[in-house]
Structure formats: C-alpha cells, structure tokens
Symmetry: C2
Subunit: 383 residues, 2 copies
C-alpha cells in the first residue's frame, strides 16, 4: 500500500515553499494591519447553509460536505472566506460605521479551480464594510496592488468591470431568470454563437447591447468610449461607466483595462469588480469587487467591497529565494557556548546544535559556518 | 433560518484573539527556525489510510471523513499533523542524517478533545528525526519549555513518562493484545477497580507491577526511587528509569514530576513522553515524546521525537493584550499627507484613512490620535 501518496491536486509545502509562503503571508497581513484592517479567523467548517448563501451552483459543486456527528447536520468545508467575513461583520461585530477586516486561511475545493491549481488554496484578503462610495473601491484596489508589489509580483495588469451594466440590460429587457442565467453563462465563456441564439427573440436595442458586451474589453479609454456609444443610455449604465472612468484615472498602475463581460462572482457582486493578471498565470492572480447585498443572507445588508488572492498561486510567480544558511555549533555544556548561541539567535541567525553521535551526509548540510572556540573566545568561522 | 449560528465547539477568532494567536504563532515559528527547524505545511486533507496509520481507534473516531469526487476514495481531515510530518521525513526529504522539521496548522476533531476545547485546533510543533539519543529528547523538551515561556505562559509544570515501562511489563507477562488494550484503557483512566480485575490471573510479580503503575506519579526523585524498588528488574525498565533521571536532572524547570501511568499516544510513542500542565487548564497544554516506529507505516522507520501544542488553547491562558490604537488621517489627495501616512506606517503605526461620507459612531473608535496639518506640517496629535 503506497499510503504516502497524496490525493490528486493536493500537495505538501516543503521547506523552501513553506517559508516563502509564510513570509509573504506575514508581509500582506502587516500591510493590511497598518492600513487599519483587523484580522479575523473564521472556522474551516460550518453548517453548509451558512457557507452556501449566494445560490451559486458552481460554489455548491466546489464545496466538500460531511456529516456533523454532534448534530447530524451537514457541514461544509469553506471554499471561500468572504461569506464568513460578511457573517462576522453582520452578526458579531455589528458596527454602525465602517469596519475594515482581513483574513488569511486555507480553503478547499472539490475540483481544482484552474490549470495547475491546487484544491487547497491559501486565501488572503481584505474587506471594507459600511461605505458605498468609490473611495472604498479605490482603497481596496490600491491595497491589492500594493500587496502584489510588496511580495514581489511585477508587471501586473488590472482589469476593471462593473456588473451593473449586465444587470441593467437584463432589467431593461425584462428577461426571466432562465434566460438571464443562459446569457450569463454564454458571456462568461465568451460563447458568441450561443449568445446569438439566446438574444434572437429580444428587441433590436437589447439584442445589439448583449452582442456588444463580449467586445467591450481592452484599453480603458477606448472601451469606455465605445460602451458609451454602443450601449443603451440607461442611468445605471451611464453611472457605472462614469465610475469606471473615475477609478481608472485615479489608479496608478502601468497596465489597466476594462472588461464589461467579466461577470465572475456575479452571484454576489453588485458593483465594480476587478481582477489582476500576470503573464505567468492563466487565471487571475487576485480579484475582488463590490458586494453590497451579501450580508442580507445574514439579516443585515451592508455596503461592502473587498479583494482576495491565493498565496500558493502567487508563490509560483516569484523568483526563488536564496536560502539563508545556518551556523553549526558543537554539543557542550559550556556556559559561554550557550550564551553565544543565544546571542547569535537573538541577532536572527539560525544555529543548529550538532547532536552527539549524529553522522553527517554530504548534500544534506544546511549550514555554511561553524561556531568554534579560538583563543578562549567562541567565534563564527566559515567552513 | 439562523444561518449565522456556528456548529457546536466551532468558533470564530475575532480581532483581539486572531491578532494575539497570530503573534504567538509567529513567535514560536521564529524560535524553531532559529534552532534549525525547517517549516513544512502538509495538506488539510489526505487519503484516510495515510492519516490513520497507528491503528488507534480513538484517532479513527476523532477524524472527519468525506468522499473524494475525483477518485471516489475516502479522504480524511487531519486530526493530528505529526503523522504527516513523519511521512514527509520518510518519503519526501529522505535524508540520511538528522532532519529538524516544524509546522503550524489547523486540525479538526469530530468531538471536542476536552473540557472547554474547540473542534478546530491550531496545532504547532517541532519534530527531530534521525537521532535516538537522550540529547534529542532534551532538545525537544527544552524547545517546548522555551516556546511556552516566550509566548508568556508562566508557572508550567512538566511531567515525564516512559512507555517502555508498560511495554516491558506487557512483554514480560506475555499478555495478548486484548488484555494489553484493557490494561492500557484502565491505566489511562486510572480506573483501579477494573485494573484489579484484569490482572487477577497474572503471576504475583506482574500483578503487583501493574497495580503499582498508577501510584508511580509525583515528585521526580521520590517516584523514581519507588519505581526502582517496586517494579521488576527488567533491563528495559532499568534503562528507562535511568534515562528519566538523567533528563530530569538536566532540565531547568521549576516544577517537574514523573507519571509512569501516562500512556497518552501509546499507539505511536515508543520511548520517553512528556506533558506540560498549567493551573489554568484541565488538559495538558503541550506534549510530546519519542516515536521511533511511526515512519515504518511509510516504509522507513526513523528515530524520532517531537512536541506539539494548540495555540488556541494556550491563548486562553495569556493575559489580554492592550490594543495598540490607530492614527486617523483625513481623506485628501495632498502629496505631503500621503508621504506622512506612508512614513508612519513604515514606523509600525496603524493609520486609518477617514473615507468621505462615513459617519462615526462612539464606541466604535479604533484610534486615539489624529493626523492634522498645522503650520504647513502634517503632525500627529492626541484626540
């Protein structure tokens, strides 16, 4: 029995990766803390109905379920942390004013989310509750870009979108939810043939608008100009396009685009959405958006916007770190030696004590210096 | 539907707890790193047969199982990280010499492990592979005590035990595994009446030895003296008692005891075991021991010793930390303001930007200072 084999798309993090991921986790959490975001740590397991609140069939399929022996009820392993943080904002903190929260923790998926992805993600993110203005969208987007820069991800491209555009078109054309779902799926997969069939029965204006959406992506100003020309002049659309223009002008990022057919997270997003891309990854490397209605499931809808990213995915985009090698110390009861070891560790050095009777094997050495007694003084010398 | 309710014995960590637990996690990981322990992060989910390797019925019952949709096989949520680290040592690192590994991660139990405990523990620990001498037992015990002191747990009591004593008695009396299991359970619960019944058929020496075990706990020297007098002179026992004496003499801890009936983890432990206690907790607050045989399940038995503890349990023993309050900054495009905010954050301060249109509510303030422009200079002033 090869019981050391792991399930598919499940991996260990061995020392190099584990340290590096732990480091970037600490860097991002520190950034968020200094920006006023308070850390929360919701549980890995909850009742299934608490986690699956947005009627997303996709999320339901992606979520592991199991039985709670204490209650007989169905539990789920979280596949996303954002709904949990919305629950904490709505029910536990119960603030009237702005609440800034952040988190970092594992989430599990029944199926890998994309090419080369794992089923166990290390999700980190920030959420801002209680503010509906563009300033909070901007704060969250800027934090996401700062976090990516801080951990060393370079040449990031940012795409902005706005789910109000699609929502306004659906409302204007008075579509039923079946047709809405069909159009949503066709747009998500940019399946123009299916889209054409679905809009065939609509009035000319709506038909043209839905067929235009998949083409409304690319350079910011150009796309917004085309959108203003080609989409119907509905107040929600006008306002969404104006908001996108404002935010795009304010963000300082070298590469920025618009994608009005990006409806990712449509089930819970309600306003501006965004996703960061990198040449090294097929999938978005960080994403987020406004989701003012999510708290409603917990009895208290609050203005909300946030971002999240998977540190295990980001790690793969970073250059390898040169390992900092250790100092080897002999095993001895010498008080001076113990003091010097403590001193070196306090200065940040790794000091490995060479236990008696332990043989050394070339190729396994983790150190490049020795702590030796010379002229009555303990000194670090190169091996 | 009150979908914001969590399952029993499952809790969120809200900001005060989440920060403090994150801080002590970082402190312990840093201590272990500086002592040469390399971080690994095994997955939350594995095939059940990879996690349940020690034939412990208790562990089996405590482990959540679910079905892998990709393979149709049974997966388990880890209830302990040590067997995973043993797998990594045996199969992935594959070192000939000493390997020092550490980890920090969540484990889940179907039932709470003790009074006031959660079903989601944050297990942190260190393992030392490839050294069978007492020096490695001592290194691990000292690290555990240092870790407890570092995070602020005071007045710790340490109990030492040795599973070789019970094993030698079982072997000497030639007991079958049913009787061994019965004696084990009776000793664990210190159930003397049941014990008496079970040993009734044994020879006088064995009977007396098994009945003596539950009394062999208390002050170190005293218990070891009684054990040498009352237990049969088997070589394994003589050597175990001598090892306990050596280690007890070397450890610098104000309160130390011996408990020869402590068989916790007997299923995988093979030598000296130890547990730390604190007046604030009914259960042990940290524990560990030697488990030279665990790697055998993965095809490669290696000398091994390690310790682990639950940071969520330890957090409850620590005095509350005074929250460090933030600085509030106005919302503005002023370049000098942005520079001063960045500067304050670089110095470790939390600076919260006051978004336009956000009302403030007394009782929700997270800051005690304001960043204001006075005489053309941005300055921090008390509110």
């Amino acid at each position: 029995m090869q019981n050391w084999l792991l399930p598919e798309y499940i991996q260990d993090m061995l020392p190099d990766e584990a340290w590096h991921v732990d480091l970037i986790r600490a860097q991002v959490i520190d950034l968020l803390r200094k920006n006023g975001y308070q850390l929360v740590a919701p549980p890995l397991l909850e009742y299934a109905e608490s986690l699956l609140i947005d009627d997303s069939r996709d999320m339901d399929l992606r979520t592991f379920k199991l039985v709670d022996q204490l209650s007989g009820r169905t539990l789920a392993l979280r596949a996303d942390i954002t709904p949990q943080v919305a629950r904490i904002d709505a029910h536990l903190l119960n603030r009237q004013g702005i609440a800034r929260l952040c988190y970092a923790g594992s989430v599990l998926h029944t199926m890998p989310a994309g090419l080369n992805r794992t089923r166990e993600l290390l999700q980190i993110g920030a959420e801002l509750y209680g503010h509906s203005g563009l300033e909070s969208d901007l704060e969250i987007q800027q934090l996401m870009l700062q976090a990516l820069a801080l951990i060393g991800v370079q040449d990031v491209h940012l795409d902005l979108g706005h789910v109000a555009v699609f929502r306004a078109l659906v409302k204007h054309a008075q579509l039923d939810s079946d047709l809405e779902g069909g159009l949503f799926a066709a747009l998500q997969s940019k399946d123009v043939t299916t889209l054409q069939g679905l809009v065939a029965g609509l009035d000319a204006e709506s038909r043209s608008a839905f067929m235009t959406l998949p083409t409304l992506y690319g350079r910011c100003n150009e796309v917004l100009e085309r959108a203003r020309k080609l989409l119907p002049e509905l107040p929600e659309i006008t306002s969404a396009l104006a908001d996108l223009q404002t935010v795009a002008n304010k963000l300082q990022v070298s590469s920025i685009g618009i994608d009005l057919a990006d409806l990712r997270g449509y089930h819970y997003h309600s306003g501006m959405v965004f996703a960061a891309y990198h040449a090294g990854s097929h999938d978005a490397i960080a994403l987020g958006g406004r989701y003012d209605d999510l708290g409603k499931s917990f009895g208290r809808a609050r203005a909300a916007t946030g971002f999240s990213m998977d540190l295990r995915q980001l790690y793969r985009l970073l250059p390898a770190q040169t390992a900092h090698l250790a100092i080897r110390a002999p095993y001895s009861d010498d008080v001076g030696l113990s003091a010097e070891i403590a001193n070196l560790r306090a200065m940040g050095e790794v000091v490995v004590v060479n236990l008696p009777g332990s043989e050394e094997y070339s190729g396994e050495l983790q150190y490049d210096r020795d702590l030796v007694l010379r002229d009555g003084v303990w000194q670090v010398v190169a091996i």
